[in-house]
Amino acid sequence: MTETIQLGGAKETGFFPRLRTIIGRRTEGRGVILLLVILAVLAFTQPLVFTALPVTIGRIALIGIVALGLTAVILMGELDLSVASTLAASGVVVAIIPDLRIAIPAALLMGIVVGIINAFFIAIVGIASFIASLGMLFALSGLAFVLSNEVPVSIANQDAGLAFGQPLFGPVTPRILLFFLVFIAIQLFVTKVKAGREFFAVGGNRQAAYDSGIPVKRRIFTGFIISGFVSALAGVIYTLELTVATPTAGSTVLLASFAAAIIGGNYLKGGRGSIIGTLIGASSLGVLQVALFLSGVQVPVQNTLIGAILLIAVITDPSSLRAISARVRATLPDRTKVEAQ
């Protein structure tokens, strides 16, 4: 090549400039900062959190597993409000079928079907994902009540359930192990697999995705199937651990999983975020919940605090701070002066 042009955007050299650009490219900043602040405060006020590690990680896994599946959908700029009721319905399915070898695959299959139905309405019929998955939310929570006859259902094989709650090694219970497996699977999918990387394109600039020949509708199906499957898996775990399925299970999971994804730096309009971010967001929330619980804070007060922290985490994000200050300046009282002529 005879001639090149330099327009900025060159690769940085030197350790610190490289490090700075690498950090600048990450989206998890707010989640990391929040987690560090929480851990620092707790190290002094509530060190029990660290000794009760299995409880803490268990808590994180509970919120986190649903949030991880949800993130796949959020990356494409879509919403899945049906995650928590998928969890409840699949939990009931596990309990009402006596043979676990049939019950668990049936529950997981239900999650996949839920994802396909959601995606059908969104990608093929063209309904906004908020509405389509809201409908699914109602339908599934209704289904959970019908299947369970509106009462908690115990699983037939209590031994299997009790065994499921025991640690496999160290503090790692099957729930925690599954959580990390799901994390690794989705993380690899959206960072290494072509189809998964294209989720960012679908969420970041859908027209560009179409124009480049990316099968956008198929990607939407994949995303919702991931979200449905993972939620159903969470329902299975929930029921096995408690050895009983309640149709109201996971009522707090919906909002907590969205909060985890948002704190983790995922942009609700899509195209920006990461699975690691959601993991960090879920960790912050989980640690906080356990700490508040150990400190004897009442659940409603806990929720108020979590809400406040969600807002603080979002508005203290550097990019949001810039946008907010611009907006505040624009809405300041106008300075029309009257000059006599």
């Binding site: 090549m1 005879t2 001639e3 090149t4 042009i5 330099q6 327009l7 900025g8 955007g9 060159a10 690769k11 940085e12 650009t21 600048g24 490219r25 989206t27 290494k192 697999v193 072509k194 189809a195 990387r197 294209e198 960012f200 394109a201 970041g204 600039n205 027209q207 560009a208 995705a209 179409y210 124009d211 480049s212 020949g213 990316i214 195209g271 920006r272 624009a330 106008d334 300075r335 029309t336 002066k337 009257v338 000059e339 006599a340 002529q341």
Partner: protein, 500 residues
């Protein structure tokens, strides 16, 4: 030599209006073909059809003798047609390398081969001679660099034909210079290039052949070496240059109402202008020249970096610092995008018309229903709304009638200054004439009028004085007597007007 790509008798209509009407173009290996025309001449639509993004009503696209299936973006890319879009179509949070290979990243069993992807991306960037960090996210790059990444993406597909739609719109002169020599190099190596531009000098520097479109029709195909810029502009404009003398107003402008000094804003570079009472000032130029940005900065709808704007009404001068203060001081604004900015489509006509007049029509916070009805009724009749049913939703009306509603909304305030941005775009001929009549009537009643229009005949009919804007500055000012379509077009496209 045989044509590499040929479009035969392409026709495409949008809702009865033929955007492209029986157009045929062909380009040979190593040839650079320019496609020029005024705004709305059908250039972009034609290119989107070539790229398989838009479906033609009739006609064929043929690449190396093979007919390409309609509206199949992937098939067009595979056949060797690569389009660099006018609007940037990159994914902001993906890396440079990922964007260059968007949708076509190399994989083994579905897993992206990152190293190979980067090699291909690097090769494409080297081919166009641009150096950039492959791992950087698009959102962190300058607009110019994004444009080059976009071109790298098109080049990475190893196209036979590279189509560029207004690639220099957001580039500085130096960057433009580089882009043009880069395209020349690509063509020298046998790539065919279709170059769409408003900018005539670029066409003459770069291209071999020029196809001129006007109102969707192909006017001519000229050999660039055997023509002159003035000839090309003549054919782009093409209309009979008769001025409708009857429509001319006897203007006797009053005092200066709007005074804008040294306006600088995004896309606006130090512009000053004045509008007097009863005067219509037109802002001419090409789409993207900075006219909308200018008027929005003047009335405070978008932030200004620098500059002062004052409005003088009844001997009192007020400084305009925000849109709110502008409306209070007596400015009416009919925006470019009436569907999104100008109207609440689900509200009734009456509600829309009375939106900026809430205070006058209410007593201690309560709205006076009867007063609102007579007020809205009067105005909708005055602007010739058809049918004048003020209880209908605004969204049920046609484009022309919607525009009348927006104008009625501001008429009710008896504005000292009214700013209209593309007041008749997408409006049928009848409504257009009525809107023109209304604008003139406003001026005759002493309102200062500032009109932005890309529609040359409209500008010539309405404006007492035309400022032509290009690249954020005023490149020329023409009085109604001096103004004709060719002069406005020449100033807008960056050609010197002969003997001006």
């Amino acid at each position: 030599m045989a044509a590499v790509v040929e479009a035969k008798n392409i026709t495409k209509a949008f809702g009865g209006v033929k955007a492209v009407d029986d157009v045929s173009v062909s380009v040979e290996a190593g040839e650079i073909l320019a496609v020029v025309g005024e705004n709305g001449a059908g250039k972009s639509t034609l290119m989107r059809i070539l790229a398989g993004i838009e479906t033609q009503d009739s006609g064929q696209v043929i690449v190396s003798g093979e007919v390409i299936p309609k509206s199949d973006a992937k098939a067009s890319i595979d056949a060797g047609i690569s389009l660099v879009h006018q609007e940037l179509s990159l994914v902001p949070e993906m890396t440079v390398a990922e964007n260059i290979l968007l949708g076509s990243a190399p994989t083994t069993v579905g897993i992206t081969r990152t190293r190979q992807m980067k090699q291909i991306a690097q090769a494409a960037l080297e081919e166009i001679g641009v150096s950039v960090d492959l791992d950087e996210r698009i959102s962190k790059l300058s607009v110019a660099l994004r444009q080059f990444v976009e071109i790298a993406r098109a080049v990475a597909r190893k196209p036979k034909v590279l189509i560029l739609d207004e690639p220099t719109a957001s580039l500085t002169p130096a960057e433009t210079d580089y882009l043009l020599s880069m395209l020349q190099r690509l063509a020298d190596r046998g790539m065919s290039i279709v170059y769409i531009s408003h900018r005539i000098p670029e066409v003459f520097r770069l291209c071999d052949t020029v196809t001129i479109l006007r109102d969707g029709k192909q006017i001519s195909v000229l050999d660039v070496a055997k023509t002159t810029p003035q000839q090309v502009i003549d054919q782009m404009v093409g209309r009979e240059l008769k001025k409708d003398l009857e429509s001319k107003r006897s203007s006797s402008p009053g005092h200066v109402v709007l005074k804008a000094v040294g306006i600088r804003a995004e896309g606006v570079n130090d512009i000053s202008l004045e509008v007097r009472a009863g005067e219509i000032i037109g802002l001419g130029g090409l789409v993207g020249a900075g006219r909308t940005e200018l008027v929005r900065a003047i009335i405070g709808a978008d932030p200004r970096k620098l500059g002062k704007v004052t409005l003088t009404v009844n001997g009192k001068t007020k400084v305009i610092s925000s849109f709110e203060s502008a409306v209070k001081a007596g400015v009416g604004y009919v925006p470019e995008e009436r569907r999104t900015d100008g109207l609440a489509l689900t509200m009734t006509v009456a509600e829309n018309i009375t939106l900026p007049n809430r205070k006058e029509l209410s007593a201690s916070g309560f709205q006076l229903a009867r007063k609102i009805r007579t007020f809205a009724d009067d105005l909708s009749k005055r602007v010739g709304l058809r049918p004048p049913e003020i209880d209908r939703e605004a969204g049920q009306y046609s484009g022309g009638n919607q525009q009348k509603i927006v104008i009625a909304k501001w008429l009710g305030r008896r504005p000292a200054l009214i700013v209209l941005d593309e007041p008749t775009r997408g409006v049928d001929v009848g409504a257009k004439a009525e809107i023109h009549r209304l604008v003139k009537e406003l001026a005759d009643n002493g309102t200062a009028v500032l009109v932005v229009s890309s529609d040359l005949p409209e500008l010539l009919e309405l404006a007492d004085t035309i400022h032509v804007v290009r690249d954020g500055t005023i490149t020329g000012t023409l009085s109604q007597e001096e103004a004709d379509e060719k002069r406005v077009m020449s100033l807008a496209a960056g050609e010197q007007v002969e003997n001006a």
